[in-house]
Amino acid sequence: MKAIVSVIGKDKKGIIAKVSTALYEMNINIEDISQTIMQDYFTMIMAVDTSECPLKFDGIVDKLNKLAKDTHLEIHIQLQSIFDSMHKIDTDKKGL
């Protein structure tokens, strides 16, 4: 399934390394990545594909929550469809 990982927090070394390592360990492929500094905060958006990940979605959420706690970052993973539905008009045909 296509999902969006968003990482928000104070800029520091190794954020991309840690998040991409965690995703690699779950066999999640990163398809696109962008990062900016917004209002002094590091913001990274990753488009990922979870279809080869052996975990269920809530398992992925748990792993990333743990990483978020350990690194003091805000990390979310959400299916792409929520962003499609909110920000695009013509994508209603797709399900989750």
């Binding site: 958006i45 979605f57 959400q78």
Partner: protein
Amino acid sequence: MYSSNEIIETINMISQQHLDMRTITLGISLFDCITDSKQRTCDKIYDKIMSKASNLVKIGNDISSELGIPIVNKRISVTPVSLISAASKGHLEIIRTLDRIADETGIDFLGGYSALVHKATTPYEREFLLSIPEALSTTNKICSSINVATSKAGINMDAVALMGKIVKDCAYLTKDKDSIACAKLVVFANAVEDNPFMAGAFLGSGEDDTVVNVGVSGPGVVKTALEKCDGDLTEVAECIKQTAFKITRVGQLVAKEASKRLDASCGIVDLSLAPTPVIGDSVAHILEEIGLESVGAHGTTACLAMLNDAVKKGGIMACSNVGGLSGAFIPVSEDAGMIKAARIGALSFDKLEAMTAVCSVGLDMIAIPGDTSADVISGIIADEIAIGVVNTKTTAVRVIPVYGKKAGDTAEFGGLLGTAPIMNISKYSPSKFISRGGRIPAPLHSNKN
């Protein structure tokens, strides 16, 4: 790919502005459970609901996890029980069955202990209505709604008179819990058949066998959007529309996915802006953001009319089927801004009644003095129902005459039901009017003046 701003906007709506799905409500028809035996009817109801809804909570939680958005309540609505129990007279047995189902499925509320008596009350329906206080005071999650009027049938004033007494009985039987049974009882005019919101949810006779109806929330999102809007009221309305569109799109997504996973038909998205007592999740604060010193000020009805209309206009394009109560809710005890305004005297009972003429749904979650008589409650119901009947809209009354408390005291209901300052009402009696009984004829629907 999306811009970072779009992603962050969505995340902030959820994490900071309390955007949530208020409820996934699974409607289940019970018509195929009717028998003339109390036991067999209950067995069939149990088997049917459990076969359709045993996964409801898990599916709701899964979707919530995948989309990263809270789905606050998972609820069930059923065919009005008075129709299902009429052949067996087994309504009291059915209430025990429904209570057991609510516990075993882990859902938050089950609605549909209901009767449709808008034109007349049959002898059995009267017996059913009289069982409501026991049903609501001996269960926690069951909700009841009674339709006493429609724009086509007029107002069944015998039922209105009876409901005044029933509300009082509900209050007395739960006197140790601030009369909380009344919070689970709604009296309707023009009740809708696909409402996902409690306490008024039931599945109408024209609906499919199993249907998913979804209720969105998000007053905090609208308020935050308006904080950045300095324009005139046309721009304010536009801002509300755009925000409502985004909120409702998520509702549509959840409704589609939940119906697929529950193997039910995809019913409607209810566009209502439903507040909670949490700070930052208030409809009153939206009205104040538009420019009122406090909700209840002169100008409140106009602001609310615009809000209600703009929410519908934004939401209607966002989803395929809109239904339910769709509008802005103004439950006093469930909205931090309403609670404050009622407490400082800025918001009166009469102003609330005026506000209900331009929004969904009615006099909702209003605590009134415990010594209010049944006739006065019937008078309150009659007034509100008349607004709905004449204006061809749904209106409802959910008032709580809090046993042992007087105006100025506070009632605590807890959770989503919140806290209610007890409001002053008129001291004068409508007793003769209420005791006349009969039916107020359906109003003329032309020559609108």
